[in-house]
Chain length 388, copies 4
């Protein structure tokens, strides 16, 4: 850390689940990685004065405010970290970019295509002035996922034939679970689809290098009314589950499923990819492992190999512990912070860009259209055009 | 065996993979189970005189013939076991039933809906005269699958929300693999869809007690031409992979996938079912195990339990070995033979009936229609009406 | 089978668990494998006239007798298959060899070292006259175990450092389980040690090619009295569990454990071997799988690979089903029958020989001595000297 | 954190692997847990002036020094955290206790029994004055291990019959790996035995509540000479592997193995415990999981259940992430810091005490004696007597 002479001063908006995870990352990243920039936890913004003060103390932010706009107005803040629900992403991110602040925005990028497109356009414009933006698809930063991508990129899996992706949770199987914001369309945009489906869409597009070109989908809301915390009950206005088959633009076919009703699956993000030369399998509930089937080995020695992705030559690992000493969920955020500080510090564009995230939104949109119409829906490419 | 006074004399048509498996079952079933009927391997029929003679000697059939009709004409044969490719099922089975022979017919029941419907009608008519028929969905007879059904029937999984079924193989990933009959539509009816997709359709309908009501599908043929064994090459006229999302008539939503291009998956029939009270998971590559998640246990003790389905109180097992001593693939056929002998001997209708198998064909048909049209396809119920 | 012109006529003594397993093997072996000899199930002997008659009918033996000596006296019997408890092995096997009958004898070879040594001597003498003998360590014939041996023999594991072997069962954890013959020293010789410990001793010596040279052991009998089926209770005179550390003569160090009190482990024979270049792991509860860690692979791709040992180029498998279609416990006996028929038919000595089995007995003896004395015990090599 | 009014000011000695892990814990613990004391990272001591300065900057310590005694002399330090190799533990810890500082000392407690006994005596004396001490067996703080202990304490496993514990690593299988301090007896005390064997000794005694009463052991050094980093080579003076069978004072029998030559096992701490009512299994390479076999369930539903120990009602978890979001190795240190701050803050004695750690040393000593003599060695209880 002795060589780090430049601070990156951060203002975070939101301090709930994602805010806690991001804070842990900002506190840790420079303790573990050698980076050109040093993260400074300058201020956090939230709506409730008491809660935001407590969160600042608990999470380690130097200052706090109830006005996120004040963070953007400050000269001593370099990056806005957007950890709010999806309905406020566009407004905050676009304002921050306009003010010349770098932006890290949680996924899904926005609740509507229009908002997402506006954000992508703003990001491309800002990029021209050296202002960076990134969407927080943190699972890309799990070492086993990075290794998966690398094996595919190196041709070890060959031509990709099949993608099989599920993201299974079970936290709302109880019909008495209340109607939280994640179950309301105006706050969350969609249900399992945007919350966790977005992760497997991004992850599979990322590791395969292929774009989802079309889908045929169904969605379901199993529990249509739920208790309100204030008493009474209200309508669930998002999907409980979204399932679709898809074609990728490189020729693979795929199944996707996102649900919050898979009893016993707590955070079951699982992806299997079969190619002409091999297969790879990832399961987030065993996030330190990657399974790899190498069809180039002698036929009587082939098998799914459980690679413990904790070796020094695995992505991100050299900075951590010896082999076999696992890392956890929060490390994906620390790695995300690492990659972002590295990109900003060295002047390159971080990924996934807002345009990459718009692409995910376009898939979500196609899924909803297909489910509504009962027919195949094409996904348009996310081209971001900016007038000269 | 001393109490068995009645023989059931069998004529088998076909002696390849399925013929060998059925023969192993007929040879073994009365050695292991106490049954009201004793299987006699009377004669086997096949087209090639030399090969059918060799097969009879190898597999243990007393006689052999090149004329399957002669088996049906004989008075000393009670049951016709149809192990030929799907294009001849209807002709053989209908003739046998007409002659008053019980029929065991391999799956898929037929290559077309019309044939399957004719077979189901013939079976219902024959049933009135005490002539029994059964379709060979042998995976129903795996003890772990039977246990899965029992747990669901006992309400241990609760209201079923999700079915997740794949049948993954990889034996034709090599483009130089030849154009065998299973890759020709006129012989096989369809590709992965009918060969292995039919198994997961039947199995999930069987264990859930729900019918697939509608599907949205895609199919793909990755390798469109293959070498002929006689030289040159020919067109692959069936699907290499079939994927679909579905709704079951009891309210569950589902994904299905059948493929022969899942590198590393040899016989990967995997089914997961999530309900409001628990989940069950089966993987044929570990066919002696069933995973069960019981959400009624204390919350800090819940987990997917690996039940080794080899206890004396598990289905079929008391006749075999002590706990922990595994059984194999062929045992599913021995159990099928057991259930059929038991049903015929005690005068009850065996299952799955030809009507049950017709129901599977109707799903296959809907999958093909949906894939062709790019839209949702309803599955009609398999109602078998027989004129008085 | 058409080319098999010579019968091998078998007389089996004993018809309980092992008798049933051997019978299934004799019935099946020529249906599946092409062999120079054809097994004939000529006669079975047992003490109870009614039970042996029923067993003959159930298991498929042409004749039955209550006098095992009559089997040995017959000219039309070529091989005696000894499936009785260990206390009668020596008398039957030695008499059979003296009469010029080939002998297959279940493990453990005998209840005492003296008996085992006499049997080994008799076998060496008989061998000179072309009379063959083999001890039934059937787990050598599991394809995954045969593959394990082959990988080690091919140098893929390198210099062996560690052997880690357990055989865990739980069938007598209930103190009310009765005092069966396996819990009586005069019948069974020892408890878990000889019954299941013998298997892991033989298996590890077989796959490593190393001999156990010395041991330090403890044994325990947790439940010291048990109910008699006739009423009252009696003393358990064998070990419930035997644990030891060992040195192998090739330089490896090892741990061994055999117990019938490992709650939840039904037939948990697990062996792990670590060498300078790799490791192999086998678990009988997943007997169709072998795990292999190849340290010669690139460091970021190393992992324990789950080889599904069901490919045509795996040992024994070509005769069975397609890849991914599992085999079971009984197949190990069919493979044992195959190897024995092949050896006798082609005039070579089958393995494991009685001298190999004596070696296992010498280890069992050292374990008991070490446990009694609380000190290290050397294992003498099993040298069988026969006076000219 | 707003309620924390009291700081606990820490001086850490040593800053290598353990120092980094402890630092991460001190930085994080108050951000995640509500505690009566707030950890302050006051100063770190190390021998090399440049390196200790860099470490302080990297790890977040306010000051640094090359004189550990100066930390003890300071009034503004409340706790000494000993992260040095074992040969200096006694001197530092005893001096700190004498000065009235609380002490956290890494394991193994000391390199000799005499030192360990002196430390335990010093700790008991200090305790009378409210000065606390704890030995750093961090694996006790893995949530799955804490759950394992709780299940056993609640009687869910019944009377314990078997303990099966291994700690397998492979980082020195290469004979060219250099002669680091951990391979030198004067620095490290012993090899695999004290480094990792100590962990499984402590862990199994902790979760069972039983003490190892006697052992029969062997140790081995596979590679007897290794390169020195300064050139040339030197003798390896510690064990590469230590294996032993044992009896626990509650009646269980056990096997233990610690090795650095288990190719492919990176941090394979695995413990299985079988009792009369159930079994539990833990594998550190899957540290977020606990397997539990409950023999009280209906017999056809029993199986090893994979409990994902990430629920809010699991030990330590409520402070972290939602279910299914894993934690890693470093969290065991954060939990250790939490428990220590809680104990000091509320005025109770933390565990494991130095006397508990002395007990582990006495087992290590018995293992070495048994291996040297080739005979059973009793383990004396760790009674700490302090003269009035």
């Amino acid at each position: 850390m002795s060589t780090q002479t430049t601070d990156l001063r951060i203002g975070m908006v939101g301090y709930a689940f994602m805010g806690a995870a991001h804070s842990q990352a900002w506190r840790t990243v420079n303790r573990v990685f050698d980076l050109p920039l040093r993260a400074r936890m300058t201020a956090v913004a939230g709506r409730d004065p008491g809660k935001v003060a407590a969160a600042a103390a608990q999470l380690g932010w130097q200052e706090h405010t109830t006005d996120w706009r004040s963070l953007i107005a400050r000269d001593d803040i370099d990056l806005i970290d957007v950890c709010t629900p999806g309905d406020s992403h566009a407004e905050i991110a676009i304002a921050a970019l306009a003010a010349g602040k770098h932006v890290l925005c949680e996924k899904p990028l926005a609740n509507t295509i229009d908002e997402a497109r506006a954000m992508a356009t703003a990001a491309v414009r800002a990029e021209a002035g050296g202002v960076r933006s990134m969407c927080g698809f943190n699972y890309r930063r799990v070492p086993a996922v990075a290794l998966m991508r690398q094996l595919i990129a190196d041709g070890r899996v060959g031509e990709i034939r099949h993608v099989r992706a599920v993201y299974l949770q079970d936290w709302i199987t109880d019909p008495q679970f209340p109607l939280v914001w994640r179950l309301q369309k105006d706050k969350a945009g969609s249900g399992a689809l945007g919350d966790i489906g977005a992760h497997i869409i991004d992850l599979t597009q990322y590791v395969t290098g292929q774009r989802i070109a079309g889908v045929s989908a169904l969605t379901e809301t199993f529990v249509k009314q739920r208790p309100l915390t204030a008493g009474g009950s209200g309508d669930v206005t998002v999907d409980d589950a979204a399932l679709f088959v898809a074609r990728l633009d490189g020729g693979a076919v795929a199944t996707y499923e996102a649900t919050r009703f898979a009893t016993g699956r707590k955070n079951g993000l699982r992806v299997e990819i079969n190619g002409s030369l091999g297969s790879v399998v990832f399961d987030f509930e065993r996030m330190n492992e990657l399974e790899f089937y190498d069809a180039a080995l002698p036929s009587d020695e082939q098998g799914f190999s459980r690679i413990l992705v904790t070796e020094p030559d695995h992505p991100y690992i050299a900075a951590w512990w010896p082999p076999g000493h696992l890392i956890g969920y929060e490390h994906s955020f620390t790695h995300q912070a690492r990659d972002l500080l590295e990109a900003i510090g060295t002047g390159v564009s971080p990924t996934p860009s807002f345009t990459d995230a718009l692409q995910v939104q376009l898939v979500l949109d196609a899924v909803e259209r297909s489910a509504a119409l009962g027919s195949w829906a094409e996904v348009e490419p996310a081209l971001t055009e900016v007038a000269a």
